[in-house]
């Protein structure tokens, strides 16, 4: 085996940097799921009756459903009765009024993750709605956003303060009957983020939420809803890291986006949940439903994701292009190494006239990693002059990993133009030697080449996030060359 192949093989060896557990008292509901548990969750959150009823409908429907098996992933059966469906950090009194009141232990956790909440928020101009386990504990920049009429708060708070908006849009893009995991989420979702941008308002800062799973054996069921009213613009960032744990942890989030006439929503994710150890033990099951509805004409929804973590990723951020001239975009980097499995992609559903979509998917597989792109481009009869361009590139490192592409194209209107390009490549010896001859070590050369491979996606990320994503990829490729 050549030096550089060995170097690539050794990529699988680097450690998960964010593996630690925060010692915070948890208020946890005992494991198991039944209607009483759902009533308890709803009661704890002091929810209105209509929401409890919605949860119960979802739960009853969920009982009739079975897990999907079509994805190219393997894992032992999940015992849904062994999962605890609610955990909240205990607080003294009524809860924090400002960042200073937040549990110092929690603050330290974020600092270890490189997220000094207050300072970083101020310096970077980012409003952070930090989700620690299930309950939002910190929200910043609220005042500044409120001046513009922007609502950015935890989902629970939105239910209390803006029930009419929540009621109008909750489930309007991902109905509770949508799929097994989305249905489960609808029944038991704990918290998440809510964003509303009023007509004509351009959100003056990137909105950001850092998710983190901490409680052992506690499923995470985040629910995010973002609504951009007519002519509004918002860019939302979501970044995740999780501490090291042996048990597999289920993460079944739902994200719904709604863009009205002339509105634009940009949703960026860097996902780094714990991927399990080098032998494939442990790690997060990330079964997520993300979907955006371009409801109005000339609206645009753009998904950008950098998926580097989780034992299993099952995720298809999609766009329903209903409004005329609406635009959907999906930019994705998915990196799998060790025994990670990713089955990810997108669905672009063209309904309106002159709708356009772009798909750029970059899969990187190392070690025993398995990476599948699964995408659907559907042009409905109503979608005159629809356009799609899809590009799926795979990069293989070593000879034990796999890359798979499952593109589905359904065209029901003869005026459509749909293009699909795909490539699979390896880092060549020639490229490595060229870099080395310029003085660049094999390890740096690999990350240079991989970052180049991902560039089309990284350039879609907001600046600070792009740097973070690049660092993350480098971190993931660390420990390669001795």
């Amino acid at each position: 085996m050549s030096d550089s192949t060995q170097a690539l093989e050794r990529l699988a060896a680097s450690d998960y940097k964010y593996g630690f557990v925060t010692d915070i008292e948890q208020e946890t509901v005992p494991p198991g799921l039944n209607e009483d548990v759902i009533r308890l969750i709803s009661a704890k959150k002091e929810e209105p009756d209509w929401l409890l009823e919605w949860r119960l409908q979802a739960f009853r429907f969920w009982l009739t459903q079975t897990e999907p098996t079509w994805a190219r992933v393997n894992y032992p059966p999940i015992d849904y009765q062994a999962i605890s469906y609610y955990a909240a950090p205990k607080q003294k009194g009524d809860g924090p009024k400002s960042l200073d009141e937040i549990d110092p232990e929690l603050r330290r956790t974020y600092e270890k993750l490189g997220i000094p909440l207050a300072e970083q928020a101020i310096l970077a101009g980012v409003a952070v709605d930090a989700v620690f386990d299930s309950v939002s504990v910190a929200t910043s920049y609220k005042g500044k956003l409120a001046e513009k009429g922007i609502i950015f708060c935890s989902f629970s708070e939105a239910v209390r303060e803006h029930p009419e908006l929540v009621k109008k849009y909750l489930g309007s893009v991902v109905p509770y009957r949508d799929n097994f995991y989305a249905t489960l989420n609808s029944a038991v979702f704990s918290d998440g983020s809510f964003v509303y941008i009023p007509p004509g308002v351009r959100c003056p800062m990137e909105l950001s939420t850092y998710f983190r799973i901490n409680a052992s054996n506690t499923g995470q069921f985040e629910r995010t809803l973002i609504v951009a009213d007519e002519g509004a613009y918002v860019s939302y960032l979501e970044g995740c890291t999780a501490p090291m744990r042996d048990e597999n942890q289920l993460h079944a989030a739902v994200v719904e986006l709604v863009a009205l006439d002339n509105a634009t929503i940009k949703y960026s994710t860097v996902q780094n949940w714990y991927p399990g150890d080098a032998n494939g033990k442990g790690g997060i099951y990330n079964f997520v439903t993300k979907r955006g509805l371009c409801k109005g004409r000339d609206s645009k929804i753009s998904w950008t994701q950098v998926e580097t973590g989780s034992a299993i990723t099952w995720k298809y951020p999609s766009c329903i292009l209903r409004g005329e001239n609406s635009v959907g975009e999906f930019y994705s980097v998915a990196l799998t190494r060790d025994y990670q499995q990713a089955d990810t992609g997108t669905k672009m559903i063209h309904m309106g006239k002159n709708t356009r979509s772009t798909i750029v998917s970059k899969g990187i597989s190392a070690g025993h990693g398995q990476n599948a792109y699964r995408g659907l481009v559907k042009i409905l009869p109503t979608a005159e002059n629809a356009r799609n361009h899809s590009q799926c590139d795979s990069l293989l490192m070593g000879d034990r990993c796999g890359a798979h592409t499952f593109p589905y194209i359904e065209v029901q209107n003869p005026t459509a133009q749909v293009e699909h390009e795909a490539s699979t490549s390896k880092i060549s010896e020639d490229q490595l030697f060229y870099c080395k001859q310029r003085g660049i070590s094999a390890e740096d050369a690999v990350s240079l080449i991989v970052n180049g491979f991902c560039k089309e996606v990284f350039k879609e990320l907001p600046m600070e996030f792009a740097v973070e994503a690049q660092k993350l990829i480098e971190l993931k490729l660390e420990g390669s060359v001795g």
Binding site: S2, D3, S4, S428, E429, D430, Q431, F433, Y434, C435, K436, Q437, R438, G439, I440, S441, A442, D444, L448, I449, N451, G452, F453, C454, K455, E456
Partner: protein, 256 residues
């Protein structure tokens, strides 16, 4: 500066270099000429340390240090540069970014701090003029979609920025029109100096009209068949390599 002693090397088990002796002193430009298949590019690759080129006998010293024991990136950090015959494309990596990574890798090896952004920018601009390179080339991915001439020019540009102590040019002139040839030669000539050595590998005498060598060597069947001054190149131009080759058929093809 560079001493090659009795160098034998094989590629895929075939002996290509068959006992080469060559010494290049600081400040000198040596040209290696020879027919196709004589081992010119193999010599360049062995010096640079490319995988698959196996040294079976002999030694190569770079400022007295055993070059053959060093990893390719260490050779580069020690000041050895190879201008590739076939420069490699690296999609998505901007030329400028690549160059900065290379400069900083060398600086790190020397125990220096990363290059100051403004200093680097100034250096890059100064060197760009040297090879008449358009600024847009800095933003383009390394060699991706470059024409043959642009690729070669980019090699010389990288050399000009990295300022190695010893540079090997592997058929940098092949495929170049006369204007590009002149640009490449100007770049090399600007870097010539008492501290720097060059090994210019070429098939044709043409390049040597612009880069005037101190010594010319004729490589045939993995061995230096003859050495001389710059006039040797002119002689070869007239007579071809047939005189030096036991296989006249190959020499004719080569001279064509």
């Amino acid at each position: 500066m560079l001493e090659i002693r009795n160098l034998h090397a094989t590629v895929e088990g075939r002996e290509i270099l068959n006992g080469i002796d060559l010494t290049v002193r600081a400040g000198e430009v040596h040209a290696i000429m020879g027919p196709n298949g004589s081992g010119k590019s193999t010599l360049a690759n062995v010096i640079a340390g490319r995988e698959g080129y196996v040294v079976t006998e002999g030694e190569v010293l770079f400022d007295g240090k055993n070059l053959l024991e060093m990893e390719p990136e260490i050779r580069a950090c020690e000041g050895l540069f190879l201008a590739f015959q076939y420069p490699v494309e690296i999609p998505g990596v901007a030329n400028l970014y690549f160059l900065k990574a290379a400069v900083n890798a060398v600086r790190k090896y020397r125990g220096e701090s990363p290059v100051d952004a403004m200093d680097f920018w100034d250096l890059v601009h100064e060197r760009m003029e040297l090879v008449k390179m358009d600024e847009s080339m800095l933003k383009r991915s390394v060699n991706e979609g470059f024409s043959g001439g642009e690729k070669k020019r980019n090699e010389i540009f990288q050399m000009a920025v990295l300022q190695p102590r010893f540079a090997v040019l592997d058929e940098t002139d092949s495929g170049l029109d006369i204007d590009a040839l002149r640009v490449v030669a100007d770049g090399v000539n600007a870097l010539r100096g008492p501290e720097r050595g060059f090994l210019v590998i070429t098939h044709y005498q043409r390049l040597l009209d612009y880069i005037v060598p101190d010594h010319v060597h004729v490589l045939v069947n993995g061995r230096i068949a003859r050495s001389g001054g710059k006039e040797l190149a002119l002689e070869l131009e007239e007579q071809g390599y047939a005189l030096y080759n036991e296989e006249p058929g190959r020499a004719r093809r080569a001279a064509a």
